[in-house]
């Protein structure tokens, strides 16, 4: 894959994103990949003059991730999408559709997950940054 990949954790996600923004990178998108029954992977893609940079965040399915939309406004759309399709909840979203971007109100499942998981309230929160 083109560009450097950095593994990060929940606690330094926002810090890294802010640093990347200062370096002049633009937000491209977030890709969510389901690894197994418990783990999910969020890949944050950034771009500067066609040089890509990726942040790889491994996250437990029932964890709430911090939203990077306060840093990169454009991220709100894709985070809402992941919320809908993979069931990972984000907190601090600038515009929160609350899982109704694509889904109807009464849908509780996450349609893109192979391991059909019914949404339950997240049990772990990331520590204060």
């Amino acid at each position: 894959m083109q560009g450097e990949i950095m593994d990060i954790g929940l606690d330094n996600l926002l810090g890294e994103t802010a640093r990347i923004k200062v370096e002049g990178y633009r937000f491209v998108t977030i890709s969510c990949v389901e690894i197994n029954e418990i783990r999910m992977e969020l890949l944050y893609h950034f771009d500067r003059n066609f040089q890509l940079k990726h942040l790889r965040l491994s996250i437990s399915r029932d964890c709430r991730a911090p939203s990077i939309s306060p840093v990169y406004f454009a991220a709100f759309l894709v985070e809402n999408e992941i919320q809908d399709l993979f069931g990972i909840r984000f907190h601090g979203l600038t515009v929160d559709y609350d899982r109704t971007l694509y889904l109807e109100k009464d849908v509780k499942t996450a349609p893109f997950c192979k391991f059909a998981v019914v949404e339950k309230s997240p049990v772990c929160e990331e520590k204060t940054p």
Binding site: Y102, E104, P111, F112
Partner: protein, 148 residues
């Protein structure tokens, strides 16, 4: 006598309403292309109204999903009778290549009754015009049902 004139007028003045119900834009753009110089459906009196209250023919492109089915139903109910529904493209007929996707309900006829099916991926403008003309013939049949 008046019935005859009315049927004739109906055949010659189909006002269409186009609803993109989740198509890939292929058929969608072809429907619009029908209005433009090369195909020019206004020759047959077809006018794109955009307002369900004024329309006679509903052209639906694309698959039905869980969210737009209500919109489609709503548009159909708002149209005053007699009305004809033309489903356009492989997706509008059965769901086409998307039928196994998770958010796809299937063809248009899962939600509203369809009178004419226009196949193709995307359907060509000629086929769409042909579908509209076949829809007009349905007006005749509907007319007879109304009278009897």
């Amino acid at each position: 006598m008046f019935e005859k004139i009315l049927t004739r007028a109906r055949m010659r003045s189909p006002w269409m309403l186009h609803f993109d119900c989740g198509s890939c834009n292929g058929c969608d753009i072809e429907v619009l292309a029908c209005l433009t110089p090369v195909y020019d459906v206004e020759r047959f009196g077809v006018v794109n109204t955009g307002n369900p209250m004024h329309a006679d023919i509903l052209l639906v492109t694309g698959t039905v999903n869980h969210r737009n089915r209500n919109v489609l139903r709503n548009l159909y109910d708002q149209m005053p009778g007699p009305k004809v529904v033309v489903a356009i493209g492989a997706c509008g007929l059965t769901g086409g290549i998307f039928r196994q996707a998770w958010n796809v309900v299937g063809g248009v006829d899962r939600v509203i009754p369809v009178d004419v099916y226009v196949p193709g991926c995307p359907a060509k403008p000629e086929a769409i015009i042909d579908g509209v003309v076949m829809g007009l013939e349905k007006f005749m049949e509907k007319q007879h049902v109304d009278i009897s």
